[in-house]
């Protein structure tokens, strides 16, 4: 009887199964962190983007005013604030988002670039917007 039970137990036993891979868990955490970073970037980059949009409107409606003169005027009046908004914030978020993308890319193992782009498109958008702010200020 005992032997039969043991045989049944052996028959019922299968290979140990891991439902979730450690790697998958790590990837999920990294993607969530990258999305949090992109959301933070969005809020901080919206400030210089708003200022640029306001200057664009000013140049459109006020004769003689251009985007570059308005930005220079702003940087003369608010020197430290303009450096913070137009240089420090974009550079910081370019670095943060690039690091997040690189981390996801390394965890994916460079297998599917399309999948990485699909997961990090908002981070890429934030890098593009940061570059746009930097170029607008420096030109």
């Amino acid at each position: 009887m005992e032997q039969m039970n043991f045989e049944n137990t052996l028959l019922n036993m299968s290979k140990p199964q891991i439902e979730e891979l450690k790697h998958q868990d790590m990837l999920e955490h990294t993607i969530i962190k990258a999305r949090d970073t992109s959301l933070l970037s969005w809020w901080w980059l919206s400030i210089p983007l708003y200022v640029i949009a306001a200057f664009c409107m000013k140049s459109f409606f006020m004769p003689g005013a251009t985007l570059s003169t308005s930005i220079h005027e702003f940087s003369n009046k608010q020197h430290y604030l303009s450096i913070l908004l137009f240089i420090i914030v974009p550079i910081a978020f370019i670095l943060l988002n690039a690091l997040s993308i690189l981390k996801i890319y390394s965890i994916f193992g460079g297998v599917s670039r399309l999948k990485v782009i699909e997961e990090t498109w908002f981070n890429l958008l934030m890098i593009v917007l940061s570059l746009l702010i930097l170029i607008t200020y420096l030109i």
């Binding site: 955490h29 949090d36 959301l39 809020w43 901080w44 708003y50």
Partner: protein
Amino acid sequence: MPLPWFKRSGLFFVPTTLIGWLLLMAALAYAVYTFIQINNENHSVSDTLMNFVFSLLIIGAVYSLIAFISIRASKTK
């Protein structure tokens, strides 16, 4: 204090604990105070709105920074 105080939902950090809700309420109260102050200083609606949006974005950015740090702190624990 149980962390995280917030969770990400779309483009916003939504409070999940009492501290999170208190922070959101404080941010909203400060936004209202700023609006009243700007409205008293400016004499046209467009001036009030343009200056208020700038302040609102700064308040939102600081709120999101606090939420982001609280989420990061909870993950490193």
